[in-house]
């Protein structure tokens, strides 16, 4: 298993020291039409739980928190022209940013996919 989830509806996929972060399909469904995504700056240092990105929908702006600590190594440039990718492919092409993990032990506090899906069913 290399994908983890937070109670705040972020997902993070681990590939070696690189983590790719996005919001879950459940989250995009709750937000509705997404019109703009503000992404973190490349090279920014994030601590677990930091507000790192803002997803703007027609009705509201929502913070996205970094699920792990690390340094931002890239952002999803496709979202600049197509923020709606987060609606159509939240857990795939609609990823938000990549980062280099600084503390892999933090992953232990996150949920695996079955645990997250069960959590969503309780909401």
């Amino acid at each position: 298993m290399n994908r983890y989830f937070t109670k705040d509806h972020e997902w993070v996929e681990i590939d070696g020291a690189t983590a790719t972060v996005g919001i879950t399909d459940y989250a995009q469904g709750q937000l509705g039409d997404i019109t703009f995504v503000e992404l973190p700056a490349e090279g920014a240092t994030l601590a677990q739980g930091d507000s790192a990105s803002v997803v703007d929908s027609v009705k509201a702006a929502s913070d996205v928190y970094s699920p792990v600590s690390g340094t931002v190594s890239g952002v999803n440039e496709a979202l600049a022209d197509n923020p709606e990718l987060v609606n159509s492919a939240a857990e795939g092409d609609g990823w938000l940013w990549r980062m280099t993990l600084s503390d892999a032990s933090e992953l232990g506090a996150l949920m695996d996919e079955p645990a997250y899906r069960s959590f969503v069913d309780t909401l």
Partner: protein, 392 residues
């Protein structure tokens, strides 16, 4: 992630409103059609429909090009009748009822003694009585305020069992025509020939309907009051027309923002007066010269002096939306605050309404909005953002 800005959900009113979310007549109807229901003004209301072709942007654009059916049954429908009703209403509202002909509809304001806006409302001269539509979140306060200010001989009735539907969009008249409505009164116009801000009673089979050509989207369309027990059948009959889809309150908010129409509790409140809000058209000419309504003195003084700040439209650069309470700056100094902001689906970019100092309110003025620590360039533009298409 979490919602941090401009949550449109409003709490139930704390006073004599029913406790807990109430179920309106179309509650089950909305749920069957995939509505996401949210607490709003003390009720559960549809914010958008989670179906193919649903979502706020699609629903908004459908309304602009076809016809959208909105449930606005949370709003308060009131009847004012009895001897002296007109004079009593004129003591409470800055309206001139002598110039409101039978069937006429007029926008008016409920004011406090300081000239602050307690609510905005529609007043119809329904011949035997006056029919008022007030905002859902304020209706219990409005009822208390009116009861306090109306004399005993005047009766105020709350039509709590009636539903209110809004059919809005360029194809609204075409769709409504197929229902085969009959005018209640001989010689009165049809639903197709009444014009913007006119109302008339109709029969749909045996069901009585009050219909006015009005709405809050900037489009041609109607507001239809129907007894609650017939609301689902009427909504079904309208949505059976190919032009009509049910539309949630999310799109209603983006439509009214594009139309430059103020939203009570946001763009107008007890802390704003009609002069700075740009709503002096609601204070009829005779009332401006004679006064005699609640709040008249401060408002007539503000009319003479001119407002210190004004409600304006702002076009934002880029795609990031400004939200309610964001600071507006002129050359680095504070000039005002955003009262409504969001993405304009018809324009494909963000827009906002704000109060700014009068010197900064001219169209073309370059301002900045501070959105979550970033400064976004914005230009004052005339309201509405997109032209009204009323049937006049």
């Amino acid at each position: 992630m979490s919602d941090t800005y401009n949550n449109p959900d409003e709490p139930a009113h704390p006073d004599d409103a029913p406790s807990g979310p109430e179920r309106l007549p179309l509650d089950a109807w909305h749920r069957q059609r995939g509505a996401r229901m949210v607490p709003f003004a003390g009720y559960e209301m549809p914010v958008q429909y989670v179906v193919e072709g649903g979502g706020i942007i699609a629903e908004h654009l459908w309304t602009r090009s076809h016809a959208g059916l909105f449930d606005v049954s949370h709003m308060g429908q009131l009847e004012v009748s009895g001897e002296g009703a007109a004079a009593a209403l004129e003591a409470a509202l800055p309206i001139d009822l002598a110039t409101l002909k039978p069937g006429g509809v007029r926008y008016s304001l409920l004011l406090d003694e300081h000239g602050g806006i307690l609510d905005d409302l529609m007043v119809t001269n329904a011949v035997h009585h006056f029919y008022l539509v007030v905002n859902g979140a304020t209706k219990w306060d409005d009822i208390a305020h009116l009861r306090e200010h109306l004399p005993d001989a005047v009766t105020l009735s709350h039509l709590a069992d009636d539903a209110l539907l809004a059919l809005q969009g360029p194809e609204a008249a075409t769709a409504l025509a197929r229902l085969g409505l009959a005018p209640m009164n001989d010689g009165w116009p049809t639903a197709q020939t009444i014009t913007f801000m006119q109302a008339a009673p109709f029969r749909w089979g045996e069901v009585p309907l009050r219909i006015s050509r009005s709405g809050y989207t900037g489009e041609d369309g109607y507001e239809i009051s129907v007894p609650g027990e017939h609301a689902a059948a009427l909504a079904d009959a309208l949505c059976a027309q190919p032009e009509v889809k049910p539309i949630g309150l999310g799109a209603r908010d983006s439509l009214r923002l594009e139309a430059g129409l103020p939203l009570y509790g946001h763009d107008i409140t007890a802390e704003t007066d009609p002069v700075e809000a740009g709503l002096t058209f609601a204070i009829n000419k005779r009332r401006r010269s004679e006064g005699g309504f609640l709040g008249a003195n401060p408002i007539l003084a503000a009319l003479a002096a001119g407002p210190a700040r004004k409600r304006v439209g702002l076009a934002l650069e880029g795609r990031m939306a400004a939200r309610e309470s964001d600071a507006v700056l002129r050359a680095g100094s504070a000039t005002g605050r955003v009262t409504s902001g969001g993405f304009a689906p018809s324009l494909g970019r963000p827009i906002a309404m704000a109060y700014v100092e009068a010197a900064d309110a001219a169209p073309g003025t370059s301002l900045e909005i501070e959105v979550r620590g970033k400064r976004i360039a914005a230009t004052v533009v005339p309201l509405p953002f997109i032209p009204h298409r009323y049937f006049r």
